[in-house]
């Protein structure tokens, strides 16, 4: 993506490699509008403008992506936690039921494995929340969030 936005302006530039050389020069001393040929100062000015626009765009895109991801994970987050919790209980109860069927110990294995499944569900939820927290604080770099997590867990 970055490559494309970076290359696209050059693609339109008829000067080609020559233009790149001028731009490299202008990046070394950004103030230096070389007085000699008008074309060189024109290209360096253009390079300066392109750089500014690119910076602004990168900034805007970064904040936009962060906010969008926050929105998306809020919905996915709840559904994920619910699924993890329920699935563990279902699997635990299922294993217990099978043990009962095989060993004829109904209903004790079912009850015991149900409780273990519940514990596994809690474990799943804790893992998911911890992982989501690290990811969201890593993406947004929110210091308060990270502090809260450290205190909480």
């Amino acid at each position: 993506m970055v490559r494309a936005t970076f290359k696209a302006p050059f693609a339109g530039c008829s000067a080609g490699d020559q233009g790149k050389v001028f731009m490299a020069k202008s990046r070394d001393n950004p103030e230096g509008h070389e007085p000699s040929p008008s074309r060189s100062s024109e290209t360096s000015e253009l390079a300066e403008r392109i750089r500014k626009v690119q910076e602004a765009r990168a900034l805007a895109q970064g904040s936009e992506a962060a906010s969008r991801q926050g929105d998306m994970t809020m919905l996915a987050r709840g559904l994920r936690i619910a699924a993890e919790f329920v699935a563990a209980i279902l699997v635990g109860s299922g294993i217990g039921y099978l043990i009962d069927e095989v060993a004829g110990t109904a209903p004790w294995a079912l009850l015991g494995m149900f409780i273990l499944g519940f514990a596994a569900g809690i474990l799943n939820v804790i893992r998911v929340v911890a992982e989501l927290n690290t990811r969201s604080s890593a993406s947004s770099g929110d210091k308060d969030d990270a502090d809260q997590r450290r205190d909480g867990v």
Partner: protein, 257 residues
């Protein structure tokens, strides 16, 4: 019935390929048929193949829009795999990318009216998640041998707790394919039913005369909003499935918590 919200999930045989099992009499055994679900899976694979082949045909240094879009998809999935499973996980990139594209395009096909959503059937999503778990278990044992079982024994746990913790860890591991498949299936099923019910209200209310037509504006807006939400859910669920695949593969590569 036109207004039946479940009708969209009915599987129809397009043509039968034959039967397996049974005792030879008519109606016995299991019929293997090419269904509308299979048709849309094939269409999804064809769409993905055509899109990727055509968009990367030019392979120019300065990409056009199509090439850029496929490169962005590549980078999106590649970054996801790298951040979840590390550089070592990149050997599973083709697997994760195929899963992501298959689910994503399948979900998107589901958003087209009169199209069949194969991800709204739990057997499809369960097969996909069992594929993931099979890869995880097989690769985990191939690469780590018995050390893969360390996954069920968390490090730093005192010995007398291990008999309690290990069954919990085993159940937690076994619940992964269930939660992976139920999440995708549930989201797609619930979303499509909601969409159908709300847009069905528009028709039902609209047949009640002038006041009904006025009232049907509300479910119409709701239908538009839910359509947008469904597009988002389709994307998010494909993403979540791929991320979790990458994370489970990470467990197979580095089997210690």
């Amino acid at each position: 019935m036109a207004n039946d919200p479940i009708h969209q999930f009915v599987i129809n045989d397009i043509f039968t390929l034959g039967t397996i099992g049974g005792d030879g009499t008519a109606g016995s055994g299991t019929t293997i048929a090419f269904t509308n679900s299979a048709l849309f899976m094939v269409l999804t694979v064809i769409t993905i193949s055509v899109y990727l082949l055509l968009s990367t045909r030019g392979r120019s240094l300065i990409p056009n829009r199509w090439q850029l879009s496929s490169e962005m998809t590549y980078e999106f999935v590649a970054n996801m795999v790298r951040s979840s499973a590390g550089t070592e996980g990149m050997k599973f990139f083709p697997f994760v990318f195929s899963l992501f594209m298959f689910i994503f395009i399948g979900n998107m096909f589901g958003m087209v009216p009169y199209f069949f959503t194969f991800t709204s059937h739990i057997i499809v999503t369960f097969a996909l998640s069992m594929l993931v778990m099979t890869v995880v278990v097989v690769y985990g044992f191939l690469k780590n041998g018995p050390r893969f079982l360390k996954l069920f024994v968390p490090s730093g746990v005192p010995g007398y707790i291990i008999p309690i913790v290990t069954p919990i860890e085993v159940i937690s591991f076994l619940s992964r394919p269930i939660s992976l498949s139920v999440r995708l299936f549930g989201n797609m099923l619930a979303g499509h039913i909601t969409l159908k019910v709300f847009t069905g209200f528009v028709v039902s209310l609209g047949s009640l005369g002038a006041l009904g037509i006025l009232g049907s504006v509300l479910p119409l807006f709701m239908g538009v909003a839910i359509t947008a939400l469904e597009f988002m859910v389709s994307t998010v669920q494909a993403y979540v499935f791929a991320v979790l695949t990458a994370m489970y593969l990470n467990d197979a590569i580095h089997p210690s918590h």
